[in-house]
């Protein structure tokens, strides 16, 4: 049996409003989908194992790790203003601009394994994504198909091949 691609979907609505996006991924059969609902949970999962694709939301809650709670607090406990998903990307990619330096940064994480699925529009993120070298992006809007998560995962996988 062919081994499945491991995918981490970092999204706080993954168990609520966005469950319908997960179904096509399971149906496709090629992916083993793991969900993280906050930054702390995501970092823990990234440190424990390798993923072929990581799909990240920008507006994430901090979870239980103190540095991320602190950033959340500094932003007035406002996850929209805090943009912890973006800050997490700087951290996991080991950027000099990272506000939180990870002690055990997973070496396997490269920008071509990352995709962004967020309600934010691209112009507001273009500079950051350019700096981070992330090219796979999709805005969450009401008119996207329910296969959008699957499409994004496939793009990330394709991106690595090219």
């Amino acid at each position: 049996m062919k081994e499945k691609f491991r995918v981490l979907w970092i999204e706080d609505g993954a168990r609520f409003d966005l469950t319908h996006l997960a179904a096509p991924v399971y149906m496709d059969g090629k992916y083993d989908l793991v969900v993280a609902e906050n930054v702390s949970d995501a970092i823990s999962k990234l440190q424990k194992g390798e993923f072929h694709a990581v799909i990240v939301d920008i507006r994430l809650p901090p979870g239980e790790l103190l540095p991320w709670i602190k950033l959340h607090k500094e932003a007035g406990y406002d996850k929209i203003a805090a943009r912890l998903g973006l800050k997490m990307l700087y951290s996991i990619l080991g950027s000099a601009n990272a506000e939180v330096k990870l002690e055990n940064r997973p070496a396997w994480i490269t920008s071509d394994r990352l995709g962004i699925l967020t309600v934010e529009s691209f112009p507001g993120l273009a500079t950051d994504l350019g700096r981070l070298g992330i090219s796979v992006f999709q805005q969450k809007t009401a008119d996207v198909p329910d296969t959008i998560l699957l499409d994004l995962i496939e793009k990330v996988i394709e991106n690595q091949k090219s």
Partner: protein, 719 residues
Amino acid sequence: MSVEALEHTLFQQLAQLELPVAIYLISRDGRFLVCNSMARTLLELPSQGTIESSITNFWDPSERQALLEQLWNIDSSGERILTRHIRMRVGQRDVYVKESVRSIESLVENRIIGYLGCLVDITEEQRYEKLFDHLHVGIYSIDANEILVRVNNSLVKILGYDSKDQVEGRRAREFYANPEEEGSFRELVKNHAVAKQIKELVKKNGEFLFALVSTVAVISPDGEYEGRDGALIDVTNEERYKRSLNDVGVGFYVIGSRDGVDTITYCNQQFARTLGYDTENELIGRDIQTLYTAIEDHERFMRALIAKDAAGNPLRGYVERLVTHKGDQILVEVSSRLLKDRFGKIVGRTGVLSDITEEGIFREELKTFQKHIGQVLHNYSSTLLKARHTFAWVGSTIGPDPFESQKIPTLDEIEAHLKEPVQRLTLSLAEFVGKLKPYWQDRGISQEQWDLLCRLLANIENFNREIEVREHHAPFLRGLARELIQVCGTIQEAYIPREPVRKIIREASDLERIVCLASLHQAESIIVAMDHEVATLRDFLIATAEPQDRTHLVPLWSLVRQAMSNLKEFAHSQGVEFRANDESRNVQVEVVERDCLRALSSLLHNAIKYSWKRGNEPPWVQIRAHMKEGMVTVEFENYGVPIPKDEIESGLIFRFGFRGRYSGDRGRLGTGIGLTDARDIAQAFGGNVTIESRPAWRGVSPGDYSVPYITTASFSLPM
């Protein structure tokens, strides 16, 4: 006649002269020999006859010896006459005298036989001298050369020196922070008495002080300037305070009311500038009504101020129009407080104002914008209603609904209702695939279809194990059922037994239907929740954009019942029950009904939204009303989502737009406005909202928010 006799005669004659000074002759040891009538009167001695007393009896016993020795030493000191100021005790009073004494020498015996002295009563002068030195006002005299010739102790102290010697004899300008100012001040004084001039002086240690100086020129009979006398008091603190009032960004003023006229008695620079004047002096003394566009505006302001005062409060944030120096109208925001005398009569008012002309325009625009958003949200409410009804229609169309009507199904309920259809479908599919396996290639199924059927079978058999997120099971099963229906629809039935395929389609459709119904209920519940959020936001925006309604007396519990009725559907959708207990005896509160209902609804909505099941029991919200110490309190208590201690203690939970750390769990909607709005409403009517959140279980360590908490929101109002 002997010399002594001659002398005695002369003294007797001297004593009988009506000289305007007290004269006495005393022996060497101080015994009175002769006194004239003035001396007798001054010292309260017998008006006639021999005086059986000594001058030393009038002296302070502690000073007696020293004073005597001064007499004895007159000649040895080389001075023929001793002049001194002494205090004498006459009867029950102190008499201050200036005494001049010379010795009397016996020419026969060639020795001092007594003393001749005169006394001038200077008691009055002495009192003024004491007043001069002890008064808490600095007093000084400056001569024509601008030298300080006389200062009192208070001036010495105000200037930080130790003695008068350190000040007297110095030029006045040395004490000015700006010496040039002294010159101009002198010129002013030469012509006029100057009162209430603030001058900045320098103390001994270099510190600056502000002094309120009053002075008068000393002019000779022929009109020559001979100097000036003055008094000053240290007003450093007051002046710094006044100057800081000029630095603040608001206009400060004091108005005195007398005989029906309100006159500006004090204002700062900012007040003058706000109204387009260069200095505050241009406004001080003016009738405040002249700054209003209409007398009615002033009367309206006074009515508002008096009404607030009657309630024991100052008037805050009153917006009115005033006229500037140039005649332009400006919009100002005023906060003011009445001043009254001890009989309660209004004698004036103090206040601050700031120009909000630009902000006023912005506020108007913002209110319009708020109203527009409110209207848009109103349309959204209609859209949500349509969506909800459509969902209900779709639900009833797609077949029997195993879930309770209008209630959000829990994950356990969904899984329970899916269990049997999944088993049936798995069995049918497995049976079909098993029978077809030996000869599928010739029976109208392509390789691709066969592979798909096999994969779908594997998926349905293993989904529980392979999909770790339970919430993803149902959507996955719907996708699987849909795909199965599609693939079965493409199988060439001519070569395949018809019934097994139809059975799979039927069972897949049944599975799909149940997932869709669960999803419809979930979406419907989200719409009900969203409808409340939208309605609250809409009401909040419109209510804060419109002028406030009048308050009325309303039974508080009737509003609670109305809030429960409004949220009945939402509570049902969440499976939450109400448990109400009214001990408020239908007490009335004075509120704007609409606002109070919104506040109560927000608190109740929160209690419903953040409720969890209590073990095997469905969640409930406890609603209690009770009275205590003049207040009536409604408590909304729920069991569920914790509110962390730090969020309560720091007041974060009341911050506009704030959503608690745990408030967003399980995908709850929220705007972060309800609690802020509810507290503002309660406070506007003299009450408050407080929140308490404690672990529902015993022995939970502080900061453990993984367990359910009992949260109580208390809404209190004065009865």
